[in-house]
Each structure stands twice: as C-alpha cells, then as structure tokens.
C-alpha cells in the first residue's frame, strides 16, 4: 500500500463526520463545484453501504438535475438537502466564510473565485461541513476580510443550520454555534495542539487530551483508489491523477 495522501485522510475524516451519529441523518447530500475531497467522502459513505442519495452538481453523464443549476438551490430551499460542503479562501473563528477575496470589496487584495451559492446554502442546509486543506494563518484568520456567508445569524433571521465541523490539512475542528467558536476535535498524525495553534489565526477551544485523527483503513483506501476514483474520473480528472495516480484514457 502506498503512503496515505493528505487528500485521502481529509476525505476519510469528512466521511466520518457525515456519519456522525450525534448529528441529524444525512439522507441526501449535495456536492458543489470544485469539491473533489467532499465528493470522495460521499462516495466512501455510499460505497460502504450506507443508504444515502448523492446529488453531484458537476456530474456530466447522469447529472441528477433536470431543471438546470437552479434545482440544487430549490431542493435545498425545500429542505430536501441534509448536508452540504463549503470551503473558503478565508475562514475565521466564528465560521464566517470568505470566498470573495481579501482587501477592499470585491477582493482588491487577492481575489478568490466568488461566493458560488454559499450565501444561501450555508443558511438553508441543516448541516454544513467545512473543508480546506491549506491550514495556515492566511487562510484561518481572526476575522475574514469579507463575509460571503456568515457562520451565525442574529436571532430572528431564518436559518436551518450552520457549520458542523471544519476539516483541514492539520486537524478536525468542531463548531459550536451557540458560542460561535471552534474546538479542536483531533489532530492529524505529526501535528500537536501547539502546531495547530501556531498555524491558526483564530483562537479555538481545547478540552482535555486531543486524540489523533485515525488513519484511513486499508479498506477505505482500497475503495478510494479503486471504485471511487472510477466514479470521479469524469468530473475531477486532475484530482484523480494527482491523488490516486490515475491517468485518463487518451
């Protein structure tokens, strides 16, 4: 077995959070654009035999949507999507997301692609799992420069849910909306509470001993590198080549 790639570790950590028994069930999960690690996590959950419906926005053949791209947002508005994934160019300690850019609006420092559907999905999905591989103080900041989607809302603002957790290249954070703060759930092998603290621009809570994020099992790795890579080749060929070493047929 080859060494465990960080993307594989993140995908497996995401899969465990999807199945978290303390959270409401994820019967229907949607995955948006540019999200190969969440897509891999969802496939892992499904290939492990869990009953879950996946709606992958960017799937070309067999795309689940017949009303165009509007349908993902309508489905979510209807309350039919239980779980979604969001990343961010910046994420802060209150789980505010910045997908727009740094500096003056609309990103006169470093411009990120843009908010996509985050300013809607983050409110209307009961559970959101945040992910970002790069774990540095420039990504995880005390306060985002621009809020594309807020982590918590004022009382009286309609909102079905917010972040459940944040998975990074160094650790897993849990989010606590009632106090709008993250706590450290586990650190990946090679990291410590201190190394995570140094790499993180926001403060977070630590309770007791923080365990290591468990390694992916041989079975999980075999699923990821085999049938899951097969499913993802069409949508994410570069990811599959880079992480799973699989080249597209010419």
């Amino acid at each position: 077995m080859n060494e465990i790639k960080l993307e594989e570790r993140i995908a497996v950590a995401l899969a465990k959070l999807i199945l978290d028994p303390s959270a409401p069930p994820a019967r229907h999960i949607a995955v948006g654009a540019a999200s190969p690690m969440p897509a891999a996590a969802c496939w892992l959950v499904k290939k492990q035999g869990n009953p879950v419906r996946l709606s992958l926005l960017h799937k070309r053949s067999g795309n689940p949507f017949t009303e165009g791209t509007r349908e993902l947002f309508d489905l979510t508005g209807q309350g039919r999507i239980d779980l979604f994934f969001l990343g961010g160019g910046q994420i802060d300690g209150s789980a505010n997301l910045n997908l727009v850019g740094t500096g003056e609006w609309p990103g006169m420092g470093v411009r990120f692609p843009g908010s996509f559907g985050s300013a809607f999905m983050y409110f209307m999905t009961p559970r959101t799992i945040l992910f970002r591989e790069e774990h540095t103080p420039r990504v995880f900041v005390e306060k985002v420069d621009n809020i594309s989607a807020p982590g918590v809302s004022a009382p009286g603002v309609f909102r079905r849910g917010t972040a459940q957790a944040l998975v990074t290249g160094r650790c897993v954070f849990r989010f606590h909306p009632e106090r709008a703060r993250f706590s450290l759930e586990s650190v990946h092998p090679g990291e410590t509470v201190e190394s995570v603290r140094e790499a993180t621009g926001f403060t977070f809570d630590v309770t007791g001993d923080v365990p290591f994020t468990p390694d992916p099992t041989a079975e999980e790795l075999a699923l990821l590198r085999g049938p899951i890579c097969d499913e993802m080749m069409e949508t994410y060929p570069e990811f599959c080549a880079r992480v799973f070493g699989r080249k597209q047929a010419a």
Binding site: A34, R60, G68, R70, P106, P113, S115, F120, S148
Partner: protein, 275 residues
C-alpha cells in the same frame, strides 16, 4: 428561422449590451464568444448564470467587457480565471458579486413578469451589503417576529448566448437537461444560439425531445458552429478538453501570453476555417 453565419450572429450584439452567459457546465457558446472578440465588441456587461467560466475570461482578456455580474469566475480544475483577476486588479472591469440562487431568482422574476422575488439566506453577508439594489423587508406572512427576507429585482438581460446541440426547421433549439438555458432565454430580450446542426422536423411534435427544447418564440438568431462549446463539454456529444483550458490558463497569466493565445486561437483558427 434560417441559420445565419456565426459572424452575422455576433454582429447582432451591440456595444454596451448586457449579455447573459451560462458557465462551463451548462452549454456556453465559446464559438460565439470568439466571434464577438473578432467583431471587436466593446463595453459588454456580462452576467454569469449563475457563475462564469472560460468564455467570460477570454472576453475580458480581449477588452470587450466593462462589468461582470456573477457568483464566481473560475476555470474549474485549471484554477482561477487569469484575465478576470488581472482586470479586476487593474480596475478595468467592475465586478458585481451575487450568489448563485440570487442570479436564478432575478431571472425567474423576469421570466414571470414580476418586479421582484424573495430569497432566503444572504442576510449578514457582505454580498448583500454591497448590493444597494437588493432590499431587506419584513416577511408579510411571518407567523411571529419580523422575519427579515431579501427581495431581489427582476433582471432582464439584453441578450443571452448559448450553444445548443441542435435546432429544428421551426427554429426550436434543443438543450436536453440544461434547462437553465430556457430560463435565461425566457428572461432575456433576445437569445442568440449556436448549434452543432440543424435537423428536419419539429422538436415540439416529438414527445421525447419536446421537454428539452426551447420554443422558437424565444430565439432571435441561430448559427451553426460545429464543436461550438469547445473546450467545454456538450451533453453526451463531447467532453471537456482540460488540456486546452490548462494551456489557456498558463498562457493567459500575462497580457502578452493572452494576446498570443488569442491571435492563435481566436483569429488564426477562424482564418484557417475560412480557407
């Protein structure tokens, strides 16, 4: 409706028009974007429905664009859109950020002939804070409390351009499941469509094809452009050409690189095709 030439179709779009474009997963007409560059159109106000991709970046690079309203601009796995980022930094385009369902909602309001539509979410986002044209009102149907909700104004683009798989003799076009193209056509003043081919008959008389068709009543002009979505995928007909986009992303990092790419891929290719 008789097809016209691609260059004639591009000539329909005047300088300054608001032009809606679907992104790289939903039938953009890259052929028409290239023809617009050749025509030298200026001051386009682009609308990404709901996000923007390759066609938007090349139009910006060629200096055709004055503003972009969109929910994101990206080349997918090839990364950030280089000419968009450069133009934003240089201050040569105005960027009006939205969020995906807000773009759909503003077009649905036009589709329905109403001046606005509500949308959940958004409150507390700087997207809303930077949209003076969006309003927050108390929900008049709230059971209790004020329940603030965002109202979005109807958006009625001058044009939409997209690439359909085919047109029929009546001028209906067929987009399969990419039905957002229908919504944009309904919401826009004029729809200019490139197609792979024109086929005999009438899609509306074929129960299998009717649901993926857009009625000719919404279509103002059609041109045949084989492989007109390239490098973007077209339904089950051809796939995404990742190598082409990666090369573009590499070359377009600099203005000179973009100019070289544009000379080769927009102007020379056309000249060759015309030979």
């Amino acid at each position: 409706m008789n097809p016209i030439s691609l260059e004639a179709l591009a000539a329909e779009v005047p300088d300054g028009a608001m032009l809606a474009l679907p992104p790289d997963n939903s039938l953009p007409s890259v052929a028409l974007a290239k023809a617009l560059i050749r025509r030298g159109v200026r001051n386009l106000r682009l609308l990404g429905v709901p996000v923007s991709g390759f066609a938007t970046d090349i139009l910006i690079g060629a200096g055709c664009v004055t503003s972009v309203q969109t929910s994101a601009v990206s080349l997918g796995e090839a990364g950030f859109a280089p000419r968009f980022s450069a133009a934003l930094r240089a201050g040569t385009i105005k960027v009006i950020d939205a969020t995906c369902p807000a773009i759909h909602t503003m077009l649905q309001a036009s589709e329905k002939g109403v001046p606005f539509m509500p949308l959940r979410g958004l409150i507390g986002s700087d997207i809303l804070a930077n949209r003076p044209d969006w309003k927050v009102v108390p929900n008049p149907f709230a059971q209790e409390g004020e329940d603030p909700i965002v109202l979005l104004p109807a958006l009625n683009p001058d044009f939409v351009c997209f690439h359909a798989a085919m047109a029929d003799e009546e001028g209906n076009v067929w987009v399969g499941r990419r039905r957002e193209c229908a919504t944009i056509a309904h919401a826009s003043k004029r729809a200019l469509v490139t197609v792979e081919r024109v086929v005999p008959g009438n899609f509306l008389e074929d129960e299998r094809l009717a649901s993926g068709a857009i009625n000719a009543t919404y279509i103002s002009g059609i041109a045949i452009a084989e492989r007109g979505a390239r490098p973007v995928a077209l339904l089950d007909e051809y796939g995404f050409d990742g190598a082409y986009v990666s090369e573009y992303a590499r070359m377009a990092r600099s203005e000179e690189g973009f100019a070289a790419w544009c000379a080769r891929e927009v102007f020379e290719q056309k000249a060759q095709a015309a030979e």
